[in-house]
């Protein structure tokens, strides 16, 4: 009886650790999107149109549902090759059936995955550091960003597991934090909850002048989804799925809170809406985890890349 209990406890603990690991490893990318997504859609000084703000929030909610949840979390994560994910694993699974064209697709996919890996660290770190411009709008962020990127690459050599253990708790705090401040902000304008209705998204895309072109910015909220799949082998499918439930809630709260601020304020300013809803007292401490939160620097070492055809 006693032993049985111990084993049970052990399993639940492993699972918790796994979930934490997943949070640290695969969600860093998607967790920094709230920093810049809405910033890309509202220019400094722009008077906020409620139709646009709610429509965009609605689009974000449904993009995270269709693209991230349905496509990646539910469907794509099942396509693992002995537990490993990513475009090359997918290619391995289908190559014996389709031949030449699958190769070209996989190669293109691999090339753009590398290209993503080149641009993701700069945008994540830069958008985090730009939060500091609240205190000094003339601050030159470029050297700081470069220093942090170099630092991230150096610690990445420690290995994925160690980084996950280290970043897991940090990211957990990060997501709780963005969810918390989002929730606080939503209280000030609960009408943003209406955006769950996809009708607002539809209205933005079809009726609002130029509304369709906002999709380019809206897309930024789901950019980390591909990383979930590539890094699946490090953490396991179900750990990703379980942590996603919590992470999605916090992300939606963050976007909702930012929209509430935009509606209340009536006009966008220089800073990202994300930074506007952070209470003064905890402002600086929040920039630091934001800049470190990002860790997905490159697709994992995959020897098949080097040995193709050996």
């Amino acid at each position: 009886m006693d032993q049985h209990y111990n084993i049970q406890e052990f399993h639940s603990r492993v699972k918790l650790a796994g979930v934490l690991l997943a949070t640290g490893i695969v969600f860093g990318d998607i967790g920094t999107s709230p920093l810049y997504t809405l910033n890309a859609l509202f220019h400094s000084g722009e008077v906020v149109n409620p139709v646009k703000a709610l429509g965009i929030l609605s689009c974000i909610i449904w993009t995270l549902t269709l693209q991230t949840t349905l496509k990646y979390i539910i469907i794509t994560l099942t396509a693992d090759n002995n537990g490993e994910g990513g475009i090359f694993s997918l290619y391995t699974l289908i190559r014996s059936y389709f031949g030449k064209w699958a190769v070209v697709l996989a190669v293109m996919g691999g090339a753009f995955l590398i290209a993503d890996g080149i641009i993701t660290p700069p945008i994540s770190v830069a958008s985090a550091i730009e939060g500091l411009q609240k205190f000094n709008p003339d601050l030159d962020t470029v050297p700081i960003v470069i220093a942090i990127i170099v630092f991230l690459f150096l610690i990445q050599q420690l290995g994925t597991q160690q980084i996950g253990k280290f970043f897991g708790p940090i990211m957990l705090i990060w997501f709780s934090f963005i969810g918390g401040i989002g929730l606080l902000s939503i209280f000030s304008n609960p009408s943003v909850l209406k955006a769950i209705n996809p009708y607002y998204a539809y209205k933005l895309l079809s009726d609002f002048p130029g509304g369709f072109w906002f999709l380019g910015g809206i897309f930024l909220c789901t950019t980390g989804a591909e990383a979930l799949y590539s890094d699946m082998g490090h953490v396991g499918r179900n750990n990703i799925r379980v942590s996603w439930i919590y992470i999605k809630i916090t992300l939606l709260l963050s976007y909702g809170g930012q929209t509430a601020w935009l509606l209340n304020n009536g006009v966008a300013n220089d800073l990202s809406p994300f930074y506007n809803i952070i209470p003064e007292a905890i402002y600086i401490p929040s920039v630091i985890p934001a800049s470190l939160g990002y860790r997905h620097c490159q697709p994992g070492t995959d020897q098949r890349l080097l040995y193709a055809g050996q």
Binding site: F98, F112, I146, Q303, Y307
Partner: protein, 307 residues
């Protein structure tokens, strides 16, 4: 890392990167959608479900793509160039590698060949080249070997070694496999080894080889003769050399323009790419480099006239 820093220097602020980032990720996701469709097809998911899923995601992603293409001039083009270049390089690599592999001729390791190897191995009139001579081969079966390996051994001056190893490294589709097969083609003279390495494992072939040799010795499947050369050496199995062969484009070739371009690009890539010894984790002190010419298409008959 260097590329990341260049990006920071070029764009400077996150809002300038958004267009490039969005475009690049949309394209990756679109490709994943195509591959997932093919995957669902082989998993025998009902056609109607596949069509529904695919058209839903294609519609969503195509909208994103169109919206992102609008911002091409805001920096999106950079990612297209980077992605296109990488695709081009990888396809050239793939093409070159496959056409090169098609040309590799193999022979049967017949009893005659093995006898020749045994003979050479014990012929004390020839200076010893190395105690262990390891050829990296693309042949995963113990019955065949590339012609160039035999040429390398037998062509004068012949390379005598106590033991010849034909080592094939097989990268498996599982992430963390680490296994080997070993068969003695001629006991204490010729061995064929297949190393199965998972694609996430760093291939430290040098280290793995020593481990395999030790294990074979411990099991009594392998022993070294006490020769004069090895009298003073306290090492268990003496020295070992990996022979790494690289092909190059022979001047004998006469290729149509496009193939010539692709294959030349492939060889140029090879020059700047990761070297095989680094690739396989071979210590530089244990590597012998060999180069051999490859003829993809023979030049026409030449008329060279004596006057």
């Amino acid at each position: 890392m260097v590329a990341c820093i260049l990006m920071v220097l070029h764009f400077r602020e996150s809002k300038n990167m958004e267009a490039a980032f969005g475009l690049s990720v949309t394209l990756t996701m679109l490709i994943t959608t195509f591959l997932i469709t093919l995957y669902l097809k082989i998993r025998k998911v009902p056609l109607i479900a596949i069509v529904l899923i695919t058209s839903l995601f294609l519609a969503v992603e195509m909208s994103f793509l169109i919206a992102n293409l609008q911002k091409l001039h805001e920096g999106g083009w950079i990612m297209l160039v980077v992605g296109g270049l990488l695709t081009g390089l990888m396809l050239i690599w793939y093409y070159g590698k496959t056409s090169q592999d098609k040309l590799i001729a193999r022979t049967q390791l017949s009893p005659l060949v093995l006898q020749k190897l045994k003979d050479l191995s014990t012929n004390s009139k020839i200076r010893n080249h190395a105690t262990n001579l390891i050829y990296l081969t693309s042949s995963d079966s113990p019955d065949t070997i590339e012609n160039r390996v035999l040429d390398s051994i037998f062509q004068a001056p012949a390379k005598r070694a106590d033991i010849y190893w034909f080592l094939h490294v097989k990268v498996t589709d599982e992430p963390y496999t680490l296994q080997y097969e070993a068969s003695a083609l001629a006991i204490n003279d010729v061995y064929h080894v297949v190393l199965h390495i998972g694609f996430r494992i760093e291939p430290k072939v040098d280290l793995f080889f020593r481990k395999i040799a030790m294990e074979l010795m411990a099991k009594g499947e392998l022993s070294y003769e006490k020769s004069e050369e090895r009298k003073y050496d306290t090492d268990d199995f003496g020295d070992y050399r990996f022979v790494v062969a690289n092909s190059f484009l022979s001047y004998d070739n006469n290729l149509p323009y496009w193939r010539n371009f692709l294959i030349k690009s492939y060889y140029n890539l090879k020059l700047i790419g990761v070297k095989e010894d680094v690739n396989f984790g071979l210590d530089a002190s244990n590597v012998i480099w060999e180069r051999y010419p490859l003829v993809f298409a023979k030049a026409d008959q030449i008329t060279l006239v004596r006057i």
